[in-house]
């Protein structure tokens, strides 16, 4: 839930320029101490488990207590459908950009932007056709590396399925 709120927050944030030589970052520390650091601008030196790495803008790392640093795969950029698209059929084709290093992708779909109670579908390629009931849906894709570790998540895109038939225009018959 907290992660979803952060993602929404991040999606709506225009990152300010950091002071000279600084960095714009977001840090999430889970109750067990596991930490995810996202660098938006600038660069950070990150030390964990005796290992030091340089993390630059656009990169995300995760560290577990007493262990080293792991770089997370980037979030797949959605290609289609466009944000807030509306469809009149219940089968929707989703497409996204390939992420270097990803072996599979998980499509996450939920009826609320917090992605609570989401359903998931794992696919090999960068395209999936999903069946959705009429209503409003939120979707996003997460890249998986060879070890099955999930990459970055971004704010979900919204789409609407509206199967209401169009109203017929009726007029008065005219005798000719």
């Amino acid at each position: 839930m907290k992660r979803a709120i952060l993602l929404l927050l991040l999606a709506s944030t225009a990152w300010a320029d950091p002071p000279d030589g600084g960095a714009s970052v977001s840090v999430v520390v889970e109750p067990n101490g596991d930490t995810t650091v996202d660098v938006h601008k600038g660069a950070l030196k990150v030390k964990a488990g005796g290992v030091e790495e340089r993390v630059v803008a656009g990169q995300t790392v995760r560290a577990q207590k007493g262990k080293g640093i792991k770089r997370l795969l980037g979030a797949p950029a959605p290609l289609a459908p466009a944000a807030d698209a509306t469809f009149n059929n219940t089968d929707v084709a989703l497409a996204w950009k390939r992420v270097p290093g990803a072996t599979r992708y998980v499509v996450e779909i939920a009826s609320a932007p917090e992605m609570v109670g989401m359903r998931t579908e794992t696919v090999d390629g960068t395209r999936a056709v999903v069946h959705l009931d009429p209503g409003t849906w939120y979707w996003r894709v997460v890249a998986l590396d060879g070890g099955g570790a999930a990459g970055k998540r971004v704010a979900a895109r919204r789409l609407t399925i509206d199967t209401t038939p169009p109203k017929l225009k009726t007029g008065k018959p005219e005798w000719r």
């Binding site: 907290k2 709120i5 952060l6 927050l9 991040l10 944030t13 990152w15 300010a16 320029d17 950091p18 002071p19 000279d20 030589g21 600084g22 960095a23 714009s24 970052v25 977001s26 840090v27 999430v28 520390v29 889970e30 109750p31 101490g33 596991d34 930490t35 650091v37 601008k41 600038g42 660069a43 950070l44 030196k45 990150v46 030390k47 964990a48 340089r54 993390v55 560290a63 577990q64 207590k65 007493g66 262990k67 640093i69």
Partner: protein, 142 residues
């Protein structure tokens, strides 16, 4: 000195003691004890319930907009709460809900969500890692 005069002296002494007691119990503001410590940040905005545990204090008190934060202070936000901090040195931080951070040799995020712009040289710690802004001097030429 008559008995009436002695009685009024005791009354004045009681009032002074009471004022001193109340002053020591006040919450929210910068307690007099913080004056001796170095200020590291200023609260530039907040929403919801945000508390501070002053260095050396036992009780958490409510943090107010415009209050200072000092070395060894800890800050916590509750559900739905947030705080915006301007750190001495030029960094700015936004502290999300259900977050705890502490000050001392940099900023330690104990749990929760923090985002912001870090000035060069600011040290950021969590239970799992330590981070510092990497300046151009850190670039390795190979």
């Amino acid at each position: 000195m008559g008995p009436g005069c002695k009685l009024s002296f005791v009354r004045v002494l009681s009032v002074v003691f009471l004022i001193a007691l109340l002053a020591s119990c006040r919450s929210g503001g910068d307690a007099p004890a913080t004056a001796a410590r170095e200020r590291v940040a200023l609260v530039t905005g907040l929403g919801g319930k945000v508390d501070v545990l002053r260095g050396g204090a036992i009780d958490w008190v409510t943090l107010g907009d415009g209050n200072g934060l000092y070395e060894d202070d800890r800050l916590r936000t509750f559900k739905g709460a947030w705080a915006r901090l301007a750190l001495d040195g030029g960094s700015s931080l936004r502290v999300g809900e259900e977050t705890m951070i502490s000050f001392g040799g940099g900023v330690t995020v104990e749990r929760g969500v923090v985002e912001g712009e870090l000035a060069a040289g600011l040290r950021l710690k969590t239970p799992a890692l330590e981070a510092e802004t990497a300046t151009s001097r850190d670039i390795e030429f190979r």
